[in-house]
Subunit: 561 residues, 2 copies
Amino acid sequence: MTSRKFKPEWTEKAPEPGTYRAITKYGDPNHFKHPSDAWVKMMQQEFHMSDADFSAKRNEGNEKVILNRPPALKSEQIETLASIVGKANIELDDYSRVKYASGKTTEEMLELRHGIIREVADVAIHPRDKDDVQKIVEYCRQERIPITVFSAGSSVNFGCRPAKGGVSLVISTHMNKLLEVNELNQTARVQPGMLGPAYEEALNKAPEKFGSKLRYTCGHFPQSFEYSTVGGWIVTLGSGQASTYYGDAYDIVFSQEYVTPVGTFKTLDFPATATGPKINDIMKGSEGAFGILVEVTMKIFRYMPENRARFSFMYPTWEAAVNASREIMQSEFGKPAIYRISDPEETDRGLKLYGMPDIADKFLVMKGFKPMQRCLCMGNVEGDRDYTGLVKSKIKSIANKHGAISLGGYAVKKWEKTRYTEPYMREDLEDYGILIDTLEAAVTWDNLHRLHDGVRAYIKSRPETMCMTHASHFYPQGTNLYFIFIIKMDDPEEFRKFQRGIIDSIQKHGGSLSHHHGVGRMIGPWMEKHLGKEQMEVLRTLKKHFDPNNIMNPGGQLGLD
Amino acid sequence: MTSRKFKPEWTEKAPEPGTYRAITKYGDPNHFKHPSDAWVKMMQQEFHMSDADFSAKRNEGNEKVILNRPPALKSEQIETLASIVGKANIELDDYSRVKYASGKTTEEMLELRHGIIREVADVAIHPRDKDDVQKIVEYCRQERIPITVFSAGSSVNFGCRPAKGGVSLVISTHMNKLLEVNELNQTARVQPGMLGPAYEEALNKAPEKFGSKLRYTCGHFPQSFEYSTVGGWIVTLGSGQASTYYGDAYDIVFSQEYVTPVGTFKTLDFPATATGPKINDIMKGSEGAFGILVEVTMKIFRYMPENRARFSFMYPTWEAAVNASREIMQSEFGKPAIYRISDPEETDRGLKLYGMPDIADKFLVMKGFKPMQRCLCMGNVEGDRDYTGLVKSKIKSIANKHGAISLGGYAVKKWEKTRYTEPYMREDLEDYGILIDTLEAAVTWDNLHRLHDGVRAYIKSRPETMCMTHASHFYPQGTNLYFIFIIKMDDPEEFRKFQRGIIDSIQKHGGSLSHHHGVGRMIGPWMEKHLGKEQMEVLRTLKKHFDPNNIMNPGGQLGLD
């Protein structure tokens, strides 16, 4: 039924402009990363799929987007908005309205492939600068027109969905420049719509572009790096893959400027201050519900890739990997930058998918590193050269103490090459009815196993369901768990039910509702239970203060309404 | 006129119970640290004081406190409050009412020595636990009775002053236990009224007291360590002397439980979370104006004093010291724990006061380290042994590059011994009409010299005024400046005018209003200008949410009313 030679006919063509697929496809329309033969083999085995099952694509979304919903805004309102930003910067066509209403939530993508369109805005507007934003917010405040910000659209929780219509405000089109590198303070002033790669490149080239003495790095590299923006990182509380050293988005913000319906303000530029609750921190994570981030000063770091020290280890068990990682994070010799441990299922699938030779596998088994017990760990250390050497050697010695075997730096280098491209496989798999999705949570060390066991048990209780888990952001007090599940399913309703069950299970087992994906509309309904009524009321009070008429990203964002 | 043999007759007796002096005296009533001969010589020279001037003490505050203000609360109210906490835990006498209305603000101390009593509460109440606090807050909410928290009373900005009367709620009397050490999470659950030394000792002895494997440290050592509480550190945003490594109080809080007029809640226990603006952070720095901190989970650290690496350097100039310090903080080889640089005036006075031998001075001058140019730097490194060695050697090499000469670890050891006892000298000096006070600010690197020059110029514009400045809390983006001024003055009104001028000068020259002293009532009037109207309104909105009837520390705290 299956043959080794068989290769599915993956789509190798950019989506036709104006189609659903042009919206759902991840990243560069002309870039593809197809599942390897090992991937196909795994799918066929797990889901009992024949070659024939990989021959007929379904719900590709190649149809033109047709909305058939005339804008609810009055024509005078549209004209006034156009007069603010200029005619070239306002779009009313069906495709734009749907595109800027969509993130990259699995459910969203699945529905779009079925031609299901949820709420959209009436117009998409591309402000040229913060003055435009201010005028738009002021006008929308007067006219009670909802505004939902679209930045790069990598949200995985309906964060960009204009639940109440109105305006999709597209920040990344024009407001995407690095304005200043302050070498004394080691800060960069940047517009919120700047994409990760452009920001990082400008910092790396600071001597050429800004006349600085040194090169800098932003220190923030989420998997969505290529299709996420600096502002998006902050307002959704993202974390980069090297956050264990550089900190989460929360930590690397120095000051921010917001436009809100009750006024525009810039938070203070101090490295620390004891002048009451910090407005700079109150705004982080506000997900467009309080106001619009229009400029930000970020902390930056010296760019010293030549000093990077890479490592990888195989641990005999998940428990050993967790214990060693905790010891590493609490030992006070410094911190690694990237640091990840994979649970047994992720480890074994990873070894197969990335082609570990049979002989290496046999060697590992002989040494006592057994399938579905052993766990891969990998990472790197960044910073000063002697520091990276010290931290790496300390990590190695703790790993050895916990029974790990060193696998060298090769696995990390290989991982680094594909770290941003994994999401490209999604279209290919969905073409054959397979969904990959992820949910994640923060957790303290003392609750890690309960959360891992509990959520994994829920996911695996569904037949033919793969579940790979890793921890990838570490703190002395705990880490995150990142659950990746792969299922053969193409009914949006069935998906919704299963996926919401995972969120329930995370909450039930004491994980936070999100470590770095944010809340959006998807997690919103769990927020009150998560925070408790008293704390939820604090967020609602702030919302009411900044946005008394509920025009900023209204309709469920953060669970506020 | 002055003679080498002369020694002022310092007070060597604990203040009489019930006197003003029993309130104003710092720390242990039976402990004294008198100014050295070198101190007296310096005072005599600077202020042109004769031995006779050091013979007649003034305004010692040895009189009994007499208030003559009957409580404004009704007797039923007092009875109800007494029934909540028990009769033994409520005090109505004049002395207690004044004592628990006072912090350690210089102006406050000066006024009390003159017998001037400002606002006091009607009763002082000592809650036994968080249930008592909840009942008191609920009753006071119903009856509109103001509550001002007194913890250990080390406030230097009228933070404990019950500006609207009502209740002084004394948290440190009973709510002062370490409840739990969670070794897996490296956290400690503690009651807010626990004093620094008891908390640190319990953590150091965690194996004996809590059965942990390792010993721990709190990592937070402000100068007020011996007379400040864990809760006080958090609600005023304090910083310890080792904050450059361990972080400010803001950073070392894991979660908190608050009793507010609109409900009691505990913030989430996660090492990080992307679920909207963080309530845990919103509460920090609220200075008793939102609610009462009743329990806190703190991050703790491994206690490894055996690994400490100490260093001190003399830099040729302030600029060299600042430049080297910036390079150290931005070089990414790790961070020192204690790290301080003294400006030229502080350096030279320090050398004289702590008795540098003449020959050493001559050697320094010969080497080009000239008086009123040279600057002392000192500190230590904590953590893993190899880490402390690495960081120390890196600091040394950067210091050398900037022209510093190493003075070894001796100065630090000497400083460590007296780090908490400096405030004891205050009484002695005030007995002879000399005031020492401090104001401090956070600042970015690019504004450091402007702030230092500007504020120093203002202070020095007053004749016969000493001004010593250091930076003692460092970040990659900047540091703090700590201005110590010594003046011969005993008129409270004159003092107030001069001191408020310094705050004006800090604001004018772009410093934050406080790096770690907090706001209280003293800095309150500057807050709106500091934050701007829009951001001040955010604080007022939060205040109104938590405390709609304005009973929590009302009357100017944080500049809220």
